[in-house]
Structure formats: C-alpha cells, structure tokens
Symmetry: C2
C-alpha cells in the first residue's frame, strides 16, 4: 500500500508516523544551539535612530501581595488574569533607549550594571550593545531619568570603575539634589539607606563632571527634559522633536503596562510620592494618547516602545509593530 495513501486515511496515520519516528535516531540538533536572538531593536524618529537595548529581566514572586498599595490581592490577581498574566509572578523587564542623532549618541539610563552571578537574568546591556554594534566609547552622553538602582547600576563596570569615562553624565537637578542631600539621607527610613549609599557609590568616579539640568533644558537640539516627578522626587522624561516626528523617553512613569496603564490609579510600592506619580502619569498619558506619540519605557516588554491608547478608565499599550525595515 502506498505510504501517502496510508497517511491520507487518517486514523491509520498516527501509528505509522509514530513508529517511523520511534525507529529513527533522534537527529542531532546541528547548528541549533538554543540561543535567543540578541536583545536590540531599531526604529527611526526623523533623522534620529533609536536603538532599544535589553538589560534582562527580574521576576518578583506573588505581585498580588503588598506590591500595589491601594488595590487588594484579589483585584490585582483578577486584573492580571484578565490580561493574560500569571498572578503568581511578575516579570519586570529592563530596556535602555539609545538615541543616535546627527549631533551625538545619547544613552538614557545605564541598566543594572554587570552582574557576577552566573544565573543572573539582568546585566545583559553590555552584550546587547555589542550585538547592536554600539561601542560604548561612542556614547557621548548618558542621561538619567532617575536614580533607582536598576537605572544607575551600569555607571560602574565590573571592577567598580567608571563604565563611561569619556561620556558626559547628565542628571536632573531635582533628582541629584534629593539623593545627594545629607539631610534626606540621614532622615531616610532604614530600608532606604542602601539606595542613598548606592547613588553615592555609582556616581563617585564621575565626581566633578556630572552635569545637572532643570525642567525644560534642551540637551541636544529637539531633545528636552520634562519634569515627571512622583516616581522619584526628580524623575524626568525626555521629549524628542524633529520636524513632524516626535517621541518620548518615559522612564518609569509606569511599571508594566498591565499594571499602570490599565490601572493608572494603582500605587505600586516603587512610586515614592504615589499621588504625584499618579497625577503625572495621567497628565502624560492623556497627552501621548491624544497626540499618538511613540514612547519608549524602561519596564515595558522588550522592545519596550509603542503608542498609548485611552481605554475605559485607563490606557492600553499598542506595542509598535516589529519591522525589519528601519
């Protein structure tokens, strides 16, 4: 009996095929090492080229417990499930925006920094910058949104030295003033002391060369700082405008979009002034949704960019379409 005919008879087919494969040696997975594609992604904004570069992800167990200050465990679990997330864990991804303009290359924030643990799932920024062909020596400015550890860790290399000795280091004045204030540091609750110490340690090799900017400062032509405080006292986002093209580098206006876009009123524990953070979030997302401004955000799923749509009482992320055409 013809084998093709046998296959076409349906019920007879499974046994035949299973037998055939059981008798074959398992093919060697030649050349198919299970490595992921490199974590970078490019798109254009006018004359500028944006490269999103992944630094890995962290996982928080049970985000229904104590992670959102003003929502019950049941509310958090229900909202996560309705959006296709497993409520037993929260994946927190980290993606850095690198902007190449005709006037220079700017990196926004510096990632978690090199990690030594062999099983660490963060600290991939260096490898992914290299995969994207970005030599860190060509980065002209490292511009910060705020000083939480996952954003400033990469200021130091694995040996504890300045990772960007040649770049200009640009920080929001309000953020610098808060974290560097000795009074704030000494009055801080015990749990926050390490964060203050970390800021000092990460910026130490850059002493005397950190440039502080105010709200509205134009860092490069068309690239302006916008005070978006609340998440931290000096949290700052950046607006890029080139002719008709524009984009925003949001930083931490949201944790994952399923939390703070769907539920803009949720106060997650990382927002230092939760009421101000919420007001800032609503103000910014009303603007970017009305104007359909493409945004990048540090904790959206890689490649961490898209447009924000108004939906119900909140917002929804429309991730930008992946395109092989830049």
């Amino acid at each position: 009996m013809d084998r093709r005919k046998l296959l076409a008879t349906g019920l007879a087919a499974p046994a035949l095929l299973s037998t055939a494969w059981a008798q074959s040696p398992a093919p060697a997975p030649a050349g198919l090492a299970p490595t992921q594609a490199p974590g970078f992604y490019r798109f254009r904004v006018g004359q500028s080229l944006v490269t999103m570069v992944h630094d890995g992800q962290a996982v928080r167990p049970d985000p229904t417990q104590g992670f959102v200050r003003n929502a019950s465990s049941e509310e958090v679990a229900a909202s996560m499930r309705a959006q296709g997330l497993d409520p037993s864990r929260l994946v927190n991804p980290f993606t850095i925006t690198v902007l190449r303009t005709p006037r220079g290359t700017v990196m926004f924030d510096s990632g978690n920094g090199p990690q030594t643990a062999a099983d660490s799932r963060v600290g991939q920024l260096g490898a992914n910058l290299a995969a994207a062909g970005i030599d860190t020596a060509t980065i002209d400015m490292v511009v910060f949104t705020h000083f939480h550890g996952d954003h400033i860790g990469g200021l130091l290399d694995g040996a504890g030295n300045a990772a960007f000795p040649r770049a200009r280091i640009i920080v929001p004045e309000k953020e610098w003033a808060f974290w560097m204030d000795e009074g704030q540091a000494s009055r801080a609750p015990e749990a926050m002391r390490p964060a203050f110490a970390n800021v000092r340690r990460r910026f130490a090799p850059y002493e005397g060369k950190v440039e502080r900017i105010a709200d509205g400062a134009e860092i490069l032509p068309g690239l302006r700082a916008m005070d978006t405080s609340g998440h931290t006292p000096g949290h700052t986002s950046y607006h890029l405008s080139e002719g008709n093209a524009q984009a925003m580098i949001l930083g931490d206006l949201t944790t994952r979009p399923e939390f703070n876009l769907t539920n803009p009123g949720w106060h997650v524990i990382f927002d230092m002034d939760p009421n101000l953070a919420e007001a800032t979030r609503r103000r910014l997302f009303d603007r970017v949704s009305a104007d359909r401004i493409r945004c990048t955000a540090y904790h959206w799923s890689f490649p961490a960019n898209g447009t924000v749509l108004k939906e119900g009482n909140g917002y929804r992320l429309a991730p930008a379409e992946w395109s092989s055409v830049i």
Copy 2:
C-alpha cells in the same frame, strides 16, 4: 561661572547646550550601521524548541476599501484607529514557525520564497533561518497549513529547484485534493487561475514524494493535524502536546489580530469560504482562550506568538513576553 551650575539654571541651559553641540563636528556613527536585529525568536514548549522566523512584510494600501467584505470603510477605519493603526495602510507580516522536537525538526509553511527585487520586503526567511543557526538541510519535514502563495512560495529556491530536496513534504489531504483537482482549476474564476498554476509549479519538483495527511493525523508524537478549513478548503492547524505543555500553530485563522481577533465576524477577501472561516475561527479561539494555549500565527506581528483573550464580542491577542531566557 561653573558649567554645571549654568545647566541647572534651566532657561540658560538650552542655548548653552545647543551652542556646544553646534560647534562639535557630528560624531561619526562608528559601528552603528542601521541594521535591524535578526528576525528570529525562540521559546520552549515542554521538550521542544520553537523558533519563529520572519519572512518580511507586505503593505496593502487603503485596507478600508474592499478588503473586508462585510464591513463598511468607516467601520474598518474606526476600528483600526481605535487600535492604534493607520487606516491608510495595512502591514501584513509573515512569520514561519520552526519546531525542533527530540524526534525531528519541522517547519510549518515555507514563506514567500526568494525574491529578486532589490527593494523587496519579503523573502527574508533564508537569511533569518541562517541567523538563527538553522541549516535548512536539518529540516526533516515541511508541513503546510494551506496553499496560498505566501505559504508555498519557498518550496522553490531562486533557481526554481526544490529548496528542500531532503525534507519530507507533508500536506493536508483536503487542501491537496482541492488545488490539484483539474475540475476545480478549470471551473475557477479567471482571477484564481494563477493560484492554481502556482500550486502546481511550487510542488512540481516534489512529485511523488508529497505525503498527504487527514484531520487528526499525528505527524510526530504529540503533534496532530486539526482541520480548520474555511480560509481555504483544506486549511489545517497543528496542535502540539507534550506532558502539561501545549501550543498551536494556527496558520491563517486570522489576518492581523486587529482585524480578525477584535472583529471575528469580519470576512476578509482572502477567506475562500467566509462563513466557514468565521465559524472555524470562533470555535478555535473559544478553545485557545478558555485553555490559554500559546499560539503562533502566520500574520501576527513578529514574533507572532501569544495567548488569545476573550474581550467584548471578540478576542484580543496578548503577545507573549519577549524573554532572553529560553
């Protein structure tokens, strides 16, 4: 006056910085050729490894005109806008699922095939397979969902020869019967004749070695064919089950999710039996949304996999989270 202080004064800063940058020569974009990351993405289903491989994208101008048979231009435009899409164009991406199991490597469909036009935005499958480290000689089976041109084009190489001379070629019996039937071909409307001719041409070098399978056939242990006809007379999806893990390779149950998940009742012109296609779509998406089965689909945005959620009168795609950890 200290430069850092100047920067911190806000209004003075823009002028200063602009001037500084205007005086600098534009830095050479060393090592930053604007190439996109390679178009592949990996995830596991039990013991199996899935690699999604991008074949590029096509753009259809004005999808509000004549693309959806049973919705008005206004309805299509409004739905697209509400989902963040530009109604003046429809990007149609193509992504091929490659499954490596302990029993062999299976590619589902073959892409558009090599393209000769220098500016073609399709035909990238070969380059992306290579980037993923998949040697086409290690593909044991090419299994088809249906015989539309963007799925069978890659059966031939650039010279018109068999691109997969060593692989088993596995096709749904109903699909084969329809397209190879001389009566169907001769009765087909003029506009469909090229499609019939194309099927014959693409399969010609494989004559005598095409294996036909029926609904329910088990191609490899745990990998079964499911009749999902409507889009074409023999359209077939595939269900992979390994212990507790499962996934579905859907093929063309939808065009873009913003069309046929949000609006499962929309009949796009590519559905050959639109009523059956709709019934099949609703049946399958009810199942995969209830069971939260991870799906891959040919025309979802790269990396073209995720879970489907019920929402309103339709469904919504929750794209699987990109992860550097496989």
